[in-house]
Structure formats: C-alpha cells, structure tokens
Amino acid sequence: MSDVNKNIKKVTRHVSQNEGLIFERSSAGKRGYRLPPLDVPEVDAGKVLGAAVRENLGEMPEVSEFEIIRHFTRLSTWNYAIDLGMYPLGSCTMKYNARVNETVVRLDGLANAHPYLPEKMAQGALRVMHELSQALIEITGMDAITLQPAAGAHGEMTGIMLVRAYFEAQGKQRKKILIPDSAHGTNPATAAICGYEVENLRSNAKGMVDINALAEQMNEDVAALMLTNPNTLGVFEEDIHKIADLMHNKGGLLYMDGANMNALVGKARPGDFGVDVMHLNLHKTFSTPHGGGGPGSGPVAIKKHLEPFLPTPVITAKDGRLAFDYDRPKSIGRVKAFYGNFGMHVRALAYILANGPDGLRQTTEDAVLTANYVRKKLEDVYDLPFKSPSMHEVVLSHRLQAQNGVKTGDIAKRLIDYGFHPYTTAFPLIVADHGAIMIEPTESEPKEELDLFIDAMRSIAAEAGSNPEIILNAPHTARVERMDEVTANRKPILRWKPAADAGKP
C-alpha cells in the first residue's frame, strides 16, 4: 500500500468516521425538534379528517438534533468537493462558489418571500430578476430572456419549444433537429421530448461541424441545429458564420447549448455570431453551487423573432415599477410553477457584480489559459485526438494507456488516490473507444494546484506502463473501493428496509 502511494504528494490518509444509515440510529422517544405550544385549540385529527386520518409514519427516523449534526457532518467528510481541491470535470465548470452569494441569498427579505406576494411587496425580487436579465442579455448579445427554466436540460426544452412555436406560428411545422455526434445527451433527449426527430450530424477530423455534411443534411424539414459552441471538445466552431448562414438560408434556426459559455463571456457573444436561441447554465458559468446534483438554473436567451413565444409570465417595467405580464397569447406557456430558481438568480447576479465587466473578461481569459496550460503539459503523455485549439477545456484520450489495458475510467479512479476528483470520462462520444479524458480546470485553480494535477496525470501515465495493476485496482486510499455496479443494476436496492440486513460499514 504505502509503496502504491509513494508518488502521491497531494494527500495523506487520515481517520474518517464510520456512520450507518439514519434509520439505524433511530429509536423511539428520541427527538430533534421542539415545537412552541399551540395558541389555538388543538383539534381531534380523527374528527376533522375522518377516514383520511393517518395513524403512523412507519419507518421515519427518531433521532436527536445532535445525532443529526453528527450524522450529516460525518457523511459530508466522505465527499470530495471544490472546497477541498481541483474538480476538473469537463463540461461542468466547477469553479469557486463565492460565500457572499450564500450570504445575500439568505437575507430575510429574499429568502422568505412568498411567490404570490402582491407585486408591490415583491419589487426587490423583481428587481433582482430584471437586473440579472439585463446582464445576461448583454453578455450573450441576445434580445430577450426567460429565467424560468430550472436547469440546462430544462432550458434546452424551453428553447426547442420556442423553435416549435416559431414554426407553428408560420403555419408550417418542421420534423427534424440536427444534432452533432459530439453533443451532450440532453440535446437529443430534449429534441425527442419536444416531438422532433433527431438527425445525427457527424463532426469532421478537427472535431468541428462538417460544413459539407451540414449543407447536405440541411433542408426545409429541419427546424434547427443544436450546437454547443465551443463544442464539447472545447473547440470553437470556426465556421460558425457559415453554419449560421446554412441554417438561416433554409429558414432554420440555430440553437446554442451555452454550457460552455465560460469560454466566451466578455470575449465573444453568441448573439453576434448568428445564434437564434440558447440556454445558459447559471450553475456552471455563473458560479451557483452544484450542490451535489443541483439546483441549477437554465435561462433561455433569444432573438427578437422568438420573443412572442416566451414562457409566461414575463417581467415588464411600467411607470418605474416592475410587474409580471401574463397576457401573452403566443406564449408556449409555463415550463415551471412560479418564476424559476430565484435563489440561483440572486447568486448569479452577485457573481456578475463581484466581477464587473473587466472581471468577467479576465475570468474567461484565465479559464482558457488554465486549460491550455494543462493541455500543453499533458499532450506528450496522453493522446490528443483532436488538435484544434482548446478553449476552456481540453479533451485527451486513453489511446496510449489503453495499450496496457488502462481505460479512461481506470485513470479516473487512480486520480482519486492522487487526491483529485476525476475529469469527465468517456464523453464526448466522438472520441474513439469511449476514451475521452475531458478536463476543465476553470479560472479558479491556482497554478500550484494545476501543477499537482499535471504531476498526478503524468505519474499515472507512467504507472500505466510500469504497473497497470495499481491503476486497474484503484482507488486504494478512499474509505471504500470500487463499487459493484453490476449487482446494483441487476438487483436494485433503492431504499432501506427494516428487515434488510443493515451490513453496517
């Protein structure tokens, strides 16, 4: 073991508390709450509810407040997080989540605002949404925006529905959406949900849209192209101009997946290069925390010609006061109750203010610089399947290591031993043999951390030659080893049961 770890500079093993399931701590009579006395007569639930009354809450736990603190504190220590170290998940933009954002979002007036407050009581919240909308419109170069979608995929759906509505309004719906083979899975899934056929568009050798293929495939049946730019290889589509023209000339629309906006903010604007509709991920580019799987926020920005179709309500300013406009006959309707993930709007606006115009540009420049630095330092030991210039992320492949049976997923597990969260594995799919090693450092990483990461990746590359076994059996230093996912899939255990053997760790 110790020699398995001799090259590891970044981490050391330390005691980590074990902890069972909360249900295994539960016992009758423990309580983590204390209610104030009731100031009205207590009713007899049986009388009030009759047959609808509930007698007991089954296996819900009974634990003390202190046990809850311990339980979740211990659990938390089993997680890796940005706060602990570099989190180079490509396409996820794991940047620093500023604490001031967490402070302002918890201000009483914002945190405890009911969505149905009379508008005159909600001006503060409306202002937040209005200011954020203005800022995002400026950053994207688009004409209008909706903050309603709850995440990127939700934004995609909203955007594609706007596309549909646009063609409906013209009285001639189209059948297909073109999607490059490098696209994220949410793109085709979204197109399908919106009732479109998905047609695959193959990338060229440079990892970019193949203009000729596009020219062939584009016709009056195609509603839109869903393009990610920079694409999932971190490569800017240099023919973006031709792409937009090809689409527009045939009456089609250009949708842009804005997941990679961290490469463009303050440097280039989709609205300027022909995009008709796009979504943003506030939980990526605009630093709202990922929270172990959300919440996110996926605003959709559009050009004028799509504005009539925006989801309701839309914020409008009349005589100095902001208000919601519900009267939009051509709207696609709501995509979510209320107004979107407002808490994320507050955080994103705080991020934008903390940076300012120059700070936003600087951020993008640093993000692109760190990615290129990592590329430069690794391209001699890892295969670079597409040589086009990288922007905010670099996609390598496991081709060289695979010769020793070491795959991208194995290298990822070994990175854990080296004290890092792995990069994104096996995506994008256009990298041969599902061998993608997709690295996005973000602007947040200091050089010291990048150098440790580079050192770890190079060291693993060396191990792939000298001792592949170490890698194939990794991780060795975490509190658990590789999980049996096959059984998990074959015989799913999706909830705790009192009968079930607890098998405490």
Binding site: Y33, S76, V104, I193, G292, A337, A350, R479, E485, R495
Partner: protein, 428 residues
C-alpha cells in the same frame, strides 16, 4: 503560464475565434463592486420585501419554520460544492443521503420506490404523465381542475408538442373531484388520471374512489401533493400508481418560488420507466456497504433520444434540506407539526365563518381553505398589509366562477392574533 503555453499574450488564445466576433470593448453593465457593496445592494432589494409580515398565503408554497441545523449542515462545502455523485468512492456522503431521502419519501408516500428528485412539483406531474404514457402505451390524460393551476399549465406546455391530449374534469361543491364526470371523461385512450390531494383548495380528495374509477378503465392514477407536510397526518395515497410531490414544505425557504424540490415515487414494477436519478445500495470489492447511482440506462447520457427524460442536473442540495428536515421532525414530529397546522386552519375557518363564506366546506382539509367575501379579495389584502399580514391568494384569475374568493393558508407560523385580525378584515 502564458510562456508555458507559448502564447505572446492572452489574445493569442482567442485568435481562432473569427475576428469579427471578438468583442473589442468591455461589456456594458455595473462596475465591479466590493463585497460590502454587494451585501448592501441586496439588502436594498431585501429591504422592500415582506420580512416581518405574517404570511397567510399557501397555494403551492408554504411558510413553515426552518430549523437552523438545516443551513448549518448544507453550508458545509463538502455538500454544496460537490457535483452529482458520479464517482462513488469520493461521494458516499451525498449518495447515502440521497438513499435516505428515497427511503423516507417511500415511507411518507406509501410508494415502493422514489427518485433522487425532479425540478419541482409542477414539472413532476409532466414527467409522471409521460411515464404513464410509456407504461400504458396510451396517449391521453384526464386531470382534475382542482390541481394547482400552474401545475396544469406546465403539463399543457409539455404536452402540446407530443400529441398528448389533455382533458380537465370539474370539482363538486365539496371541492372534491366530480367522480361521475371523471368516469365519463376516461376513455380507453386514457393513460392516466391526475389529481392533487390536498388539492388547490386545500380539500383532501377521496383517493381510493378515484383510483377505483381509473383502474377499472386501465388508466393509471397519478397523485400530486403540493403540501408535503400533510403527509404527517393525512393518509398517504397508497392507491396511486405514481405519486409526484413538491417537498418545499420540508425545510426549503419560500425563496420567491424556487429552488424547490420535486419527487416522483411509484411501484417497484415501474422503476425502469422512471425519470431522474436513482441511488442504489451495493457493496465494494471488500464487501463493504456503499451506494451508487444506478439504473442509469434510463437516462439521457446513455440513452440519448430514447431516454425516459432529458433531466440531468436536478435539485440535489434542496433534497438534502428536505432529508435533514425529515430527520429533525421524524416519526413523531411530522405528525405533531401537521396537527398544529390542522388546528390552526380549523380555528381560522371557525373565525372566518363569522364574517365571510367558507367554500368547499363539505370535505376534510389540511391547512388551506377558500374564503368567499363580499368585497374583492385584493382590496381585503391591501387593507391587511397595514397590519403586516399577507392575505390569501385571490382566485379570480384561475376560477372566475368562484367570485370574490381567495385560498388562505395557516401554518404553524401564523399566530392566533393575526388569524383574528384577518378574520375581522374579510368581513368588511
């Protein structure tokens, strides 16, 4: 680093962006602010809101007390700055917490499996309907008009382009679904019936009866729950095939409407048709218990256009809030707290009756009720603002047929004094 990458200056790295698309000047917008300024800026916004008012609004967003341990725990960087737990070995904290969440949701809803979360209660219905369509191979939906109006709007938005016809059925004097009308509305193309309980008026539906009707015609029953706390004292909809719930009541701030957390729970046999993430228990190579994301072949990153849903990022941290909340109150506390809500609303109904008309008085309710007043609800609410009370939601926009009425809510945070004051006001 510039030297290392062999760039003369930073713009070299952007040179492959066609020149005409490279921004020359600064973006327009407010200058960079210092931290102290940012805090003051938002305090300015927060200042002209309703802090300190007592809130008698519900309608899908409920003002319950949030124990402080929730924020102290979710504020640990290990939770809130982590990504979706793709790498199990260094994500066991998040994974185990989600597994506990799934378990508790099952216990509360009476279902067999629950997912790791959906965006919210409104999109939850849409996902549930699409799931029902996949399961039954039928295409149409019958939804009760007593389901939250915005939830129905969202369903319509999702459905419009997918050839999923939607019919709405009426409610009775009691506020409950009109069973006869429902029975008539269901055809052999009906994939599912959707109701909400407690419904938008606060009325608790007769789920069993609805289930019978739906099942007799081979349709699935989807029950939506907007006020999760009701499950502390109201029988769970065990007769449903799919339960979709908004869990905001479980420790999630009102936050002007989001982020909240939707859940979808169902029967084991439908698990492979579920949308959203699932965490499963397994063991590592040493046989040690651990947890992983599982059944991901349902999801978009594998199945692409054939996925059960396009959902990817969901509401992880909010689900954690709800998990902690459910642990704090637990088996006894949820019941005790729900009973306090029940008592507050019952008391309020009694007081409001003295000066106004209570609609839908024929069936049991939880913590919401509909009040019909001589004057317009909006005027009453305006008057109440002077007493720092936020009155009920006027229903005229959604249900013009109900005249001057509004749906009011009394959680444990509404004091008797405010109830009395409001009861006074509605009469005038």
């Amino acid at each position: 680093m510039l030297d290392a990458v062999g760039a003369r200056n930073i713009d070299d790295l952007f040179s492959h962006i066609p020149a005409e698309y490279r921004l020359k000047g600064d973006l327009h917008g407010p200058r960079q602010m210092g931290e102290a300024e940012i805090v003051d800026y938002f305090k300015g916004f927060a200042g002209d809101m309703s802090a300190g008012y007592s809130i008698m609004l519900g309608a899908g967003s409920y003002y319950h007390y949030r124990p402080v341990v929730i924020d102290s725990l979710i504020s640990r960087g290990e939770f809130f700055t982590a990504y979706t737990p793709y790498q199990a070995e260094i994500s066991q904290g998040t994974l185990q917490a989600i597994f506990e969440f799934q378990t508790m949701i099952c216990e509360l809803t009476g279902m067999e499996v629950a997912n790791a979360s959906l965006y919210d209660g409104s999109t939850g219905i849409a996902e549930a309907v699409m799931m029902a369509i996949r399961i039954t191979g039928r295409s149409s939906t019958v939804i009760a008009r007593s389901v939250h109006p915005e939830y129905r709007e969202v369903l319509r938005t999702y459905a419009q382009h997918q050839g999923m016809p939607i019919a709405e059925t009426a409610f009775l004097e009691t506020g409950r679904v009109d069973l006869k009308a429902l029975d008539a509305a269901i055809t052999d193309e009906t994939a599912c019936v959707v109701i909400q309980s407690p419904n938008f008026f606060g009325t608790i539906e007769d789920v069993a009866a609805v289930a019978d009707i739906a099942h007799k015609k081979g349709a699935l029953l989807i029950v939506s729950i907007a006020e999760a706390l009701s499950l502390g004292i109201v029988k769970p909809p065990v007769e449903a095939d799919i339960v979709t719930m908004e869990a905001q009541s479980f420790g999630v701030p009102l936050g002007y409407g989001g982020p909240y957390v939707g859940v979808l729970a169902t029967r084991e046999k439908f698990v492979r048709q579920m949308p959203g993430r699932l965490v499963g228990q397994t063991t590592d190579r040493q046989g040690k218990r651990g947890f992983v994301l599982t059944l991901s072949t349902r999801e978009q990153h594998i199945r692409r256009e054939k996925a059960t849903s396009n959902i990817c990022t969901n509401q992880g941290l909010v689900a954690l809030m709800a998990t902690i909340y459910m642990c704090i109150y637990g088996r006894e506390g949820l019941k005790e707290l729900a009973k306090q809500n029940l008592s507050k609303a019952a008391y309020a109904v009694g007081e409001f009756k003295k000066s106004a008309k209570i609609l839908f008085d024929g069936a049991p309710r939880f913590n919401e009720f509909v009040v019909q007043t001589p004057g317009a609800a909006k005027q009453i609410n305006d008057k109440l603002l002077d007493q720092k009370i936020i009155g009920g939601l006027p229903l005229n926009r959604y249900y013009p047929e109900l005249g001057n009425s509004a749906v009011w809510c009394c959680t444990e945070l509404v004091a008797k004094a405010q109830i009395d004051a409001a009861a006074q006001a509605v009469g005038k």
